[in-house]
Symmetry: C2
Amino acid sequence: MEIVIDIEDPVPLFSQLVTQVKDAIQNGKLSPGDPLPSIRQLAIDLELNAKTVAKAYRLLERDSVIQTRGYRGTFVHPDARANSTVDLNAWVMDKLTDTVAAFREAGATDSEIRIAFGKVMNERIGGER
Amino acid sequence: MEIVIDIEDPVPLFSQLVTQVKDAIQNGKLSPGDPLPSIRQLAIDLELNAKTVAKAYRLLERDSVIQTRGYRGTFVHPDARANSTVDLNAWVMDKLTDTVAAFREAGATDSEIRIAFGKVMNERIGGER
DNA sequence: ATATGTACCATTACAACACATGGTACATAT
DNA sequence: ATATGTACCATGTGTTGTAATGGTACATAT
């Protein structure tokens, strides 16, 4: 697995890492069950902060692309191949695109939409940790 | 029509103005057809920048609460009473609240939702002025 | 001891955006 | 001339959120 992080790239570092892991899985360079470097080790290799790597791993696990087994390390998820194709963000984008289009059609200003969005995102419903 | 703008109020000035005009209409202090002060004049009276007043007027006209007749001035819209009840922002908020809730339920991070939103808002489809 | 993922404390830098301000200019019609 | 709404140029301020960094600590198990 060769991962290259470009500090100049406007794409966030953790995001580059997520993408490259998914790519490696789709290319077959990584297979289900394969072990991944530990957060700390990978941070050293890529000259990143461990937090940054941890963030990438957290997102990858949420998408069931990798699996963390506590002290045993991190491994490629059994369904990684399928799950690294499914793009949660794409689904979110599509939904949002439609919604925003409806707003604009209704005459709402981009500014108004942004403000409404900001309010919604800050509304912590009923006790979220 | 008595309008009072509070500079200390965290609510934006143009927004205070919009609200107060709508209120005046619902209270009957303003009736359909009534003339409104010119942008420049109202700016002087309220000690606001003309741009700020213009912004409020623009939004009010978009909601068909007032009507601008060019050089003839600005007047309360015939359907102002009904239209000042309809709250476009409330509708936008509701829709967005549902949409965002669905995203969160799907496991999306708030950060991801924000990023997706940012992308959607910056996508200027096909030649917008 | 050593290593795993994870959780908290925190700060810094940076970008995007809203709000409000100022000035100037235009076509419109009185 | 005077006034209307509107459009463009622009700047400054403050807020918000992201991204990335650092340090410390924990329970887990080898």
